[in-house]
Symmetry: D2
Subunit: 310 residues, 4 copies
């Protein structure tokens, strides 16, 4: 099985765009492995690390990619099934980054208040799960790994790996996990897929800006839906159809997600549009994936048990 | 057991405030029943009803109240356990109201596009659950009743029953359901509690603006926490501590909810504030309660299994 | 000329609603005077005042009112021409209020950062204008007085005098000044007009949350437009038609303002709606009135020189 | 004088980034000319043009660039004085683009309402000014030309020319006009300056999404401030210091703008930070530059007459 490694440091991908040379090729139907560094390039290994030395914008959240998907052409959709995620390290990292997060002033929500202090935690990963803080007597947190960042190149833009959007990117949606399929638009020949930002566990909204950050070895199976383009990322598993919106303010993220879900239900599952809208108001589920990144991400979910039987 | 009925039509409560005379008195520790009309005053019984005749602002979403809680004084907190909700009708109502909802122009998000058409559905309630539309071959939706609106009077404001806020109100949070306790601030003598807007089922975000609307007979047990005031509504059950934020844009609702949750964890459960913030980023859950009302409501949830053992 | 004084302290209006007894009556066509206290009840007279003692929510920003307008009935519009504003004091007050303002965490935009410190300035009013700070060598600021708060009672809501909205209220729009006419909706018999929050000078957006706060003696001439209701406040002078939107996020305030302006131009001035929209995109002016209150206020202005000649 | 022409069609710049080869070089102190196409590549010359043929995303709003500024290094600031803007065409173009604009559903503020129809106007430019519509008897609109788009390359991102941001870009700020100086950050060697999107006239907020679009011949004088980096675009003229914020929601744009203005006043003009904040609340002016682009832009202005004399 092909195993794609992150490139050497000078070629790490900090933007998702069409300007980098592919580091690997995969074919529709192929199952392959990808290794990823954590969001801090695996550079934090102690609570004493000074974040100002590690976080030197824009060089944060390196992705492994671009991966060229043979045969992918603009107007197609990439279907990426995540088969497995392994964590090749016995600890995860989290931190508070001054001027970044959901409950503090940021570079967008600018305030004159003093910034919060930095804070770094190293979380051991044991057989029981993630240890948040040995000093706190609380149970270990179950390991539920997923990719915070997965995306395909826009046509001509190069978008920071810190940002989510119509191309996927840094959605921080825990639904990008083993067993689920991610649908992403193909905008350029070969799609140029990027993946990174492994999380061992994350709360909805990723409120402090950082989850339990880990490197990964992931197993993926890729497929191509020719001639049909998703307009925003979609996820699917046995239980849910899911559409993702990434925008600010957060209600616009939710609007994008629900609008796409209603469109999906009416275009492919036999619902009249207004009927799908009204039914979503009774059965849909919503995940706030992040409220901290350059755009906020919201996942609108439709339980497949309510799909009409033909 | 005391059973509080909605007042006659001319005295129905369409605002939550201190200006109406109490319609009933309850005592701390008392278990009592409350009947409520649906959000449309039980006036919709057919898909042919013209919403323009039913919805005559500001006379929408009538609540039963104010209920005077003996001994409640400003600075206290009301703890309302919801024991049971019965639905005394064999159907629920939903509709699309032009210029109201999450995926259309509204009186706030003003657009020049033509409004969506009105649409009314009558949903039979059977032993299997809620029938969305007999013409669609989909399973019945489980009945999971809750109150869309529950609140206490602000000190001097009278707030539309269509609006949520620090006083509770129209949060449309499915966590206001049997088994859960709702904490609300006491701002005036007797608290002046209002309740209404029963929902037989609702999706997260209540995206079309309306859930499965029903009248109810609810059973409540009320308690009083003297001398301690919640600053925004809180919910609690065996599994979660929950804080509610209601604001626009939606990220401000999430900020209020998480800020209160972090405050709760640090003030009453032994967490250092930054530690609580960082842990929430790994284990919290979020419900988008509504994205359609005068303010949006978001519930931030902390799993009690992660509370430190003393 | 009738001169309406603020009521005694226990009856000061801190909400705009239908529940208070009128303190005066005026007739259409009448010119009358109104005295107002400043937003802090004239209680700040030194930089050493402790704001925590002065600002005891919800008792802030007292208005003079309700003033009953004879003959005003729901569905009418009140036209209030501001003839003059005098400042009966030789100083203005400004301050930084912790957790209030445009560049800090607030009760809505909740952050964990430490609040900004309080800061009070007393600004002498001299013949040259307002002295911001004698320690700074900068010119005096011209006195351009206006009312931060002017509104009419909603039908059943009682809205904090700190909030703007469709009823007017705390818009903090410098266009509520001598020479301009303010149009407000009549929702209850007698309209119940409230006015207060005099400002000797204010920057657009009132960014720190407070302007140069003063008591006033204003002269008003009131008129009634029977049977036509404005949906949101409007202003007019020789130069501009102006519509006000108050909402969060700020783009919704701008949408309300521009939607109403386009509606005004098409309903009363012969423009086709899309044509008015497109022309506004070339000649409109916008004032951000406030970015600090419970809702933000934006004024969209159409230069009357571009009204078609009949 | 060097005169820089837009490149051939296949090399037109639709992103602002570091990936394109410079089309010209200029030196600090040099005065030079730049020709630009209009936002629609000069392809609209009749009201009958079908916008669906002209607007093929992402190929909209072509800029002339990148222009390499000799000696510019990361950490410097580019000071670009706009000396003159000529319009080499006797008409301007405006239009309504479905799903784009301030008063309609868009790709972000997604709605289920039917889109607005497209509408194209050709505006003759006469000696009296811009003729909005000969069928309307209204005065000609004065020609006040400016550049909607001016920006420098980010370090590794390539940003759509439709988006504004910390790099400048599509701010649609009428202050980018003759007589004013624009300060932009230098992120890459040579700065890589792009300019385009000439407007013959524009209302604040550019509410319908389009102004009076024209090609231009501009004259610029460029200078370099070594070793000092602006964090967000700034403008300056004889009257005002101006900071620009671009973000969503609009209040974040205003926060960025005012935060930078306060920072500027305290870092370079002797104000204590809180004092600058409080003074801005009395004398600042605000321009809503756009409420239609990928991010909204707000300009906060400080009148230089209130700068302290040393």
């Amino acid at each position: 099985m092909q195993h794609i490694q992150p490139p050497e440091k000078s070629k790490l991908a900090y933007v998702i765009g069409p300007y980098q040379a592919p580091i690997a090729h995969v074919s529709p139907g192929e199952t392959f492995r990808v290794s990823t560094l954590d969001a801090f390039e695996n550079r934090i290994d102690s609570p004493k690390v000074d974040l100002r030395e590690v976080i030197t914008l824009p060089y944060v959240n390196p992705c492994t990619g671009p991966i060229f998907v043979d045969g992918a052409a603009p107007g197609d959709t990439l279907a990426i099934r995540i088969d497995d995620i392994q964590i090749p390290r016995d600890y995860a990292v989290s931190c508070l980054i001054p001027e970044f997060g959901g409950l503090c002033g940021t570079v967008f929500t600018r305030v004159l208040n003093e910034p919060l202090p930095q804070r770094v935690l190293i979380h051991p990963i044991t057989k029981d799960g993630l240890v948040h803080d040995r000093a706190l007597k609380i149970p270990a947190i179950p390991i539920e790994p997923f990719y915070g960042t997965i995306g395909t190149a826009p046509t001509i833009e190069a978008i920071s790996t810190l940002a989510p959007g119509f191309h996927g990117g840094n959605m921080d949606a825990a639904d990008v996990c083993p067993g689920n399929t991610v649908y992403l638009p193909v905008n350029v020949a070969g799609a140029h897929l990027f993946v990174g930002d492994g999380h061992a566990a994350q709360g909805d909204a990723e409120v402090c800006g950082v989850a339990a950050e880990v490197p990964t070895v992931g197993t993926f199976t890729i497929d191509l839906i020719k001639g049909r383009a998703v307009r925003t990322p979609r996820f699917e598993n046995a239980e849910f159809l899911m559409s993702v919106g990434s925008a600010r303010p957060m209600e616009d993220a939710a609007r994008i997600a629900f609008h796409d879900l209603v469109t999906w239900l009416s275009a492919e599952h036999g619902f009249e549009r207004m009927s799908a809208y009204q039914l979503c108001s009774q059965v849909a589920r919503v995940r706030v994936a992040n409220m901290v990144d350059i755009l906020y991400s919201v996942v609108a979910k439709f339980p497949k048990r309510y799909l009409p039987t033909p």
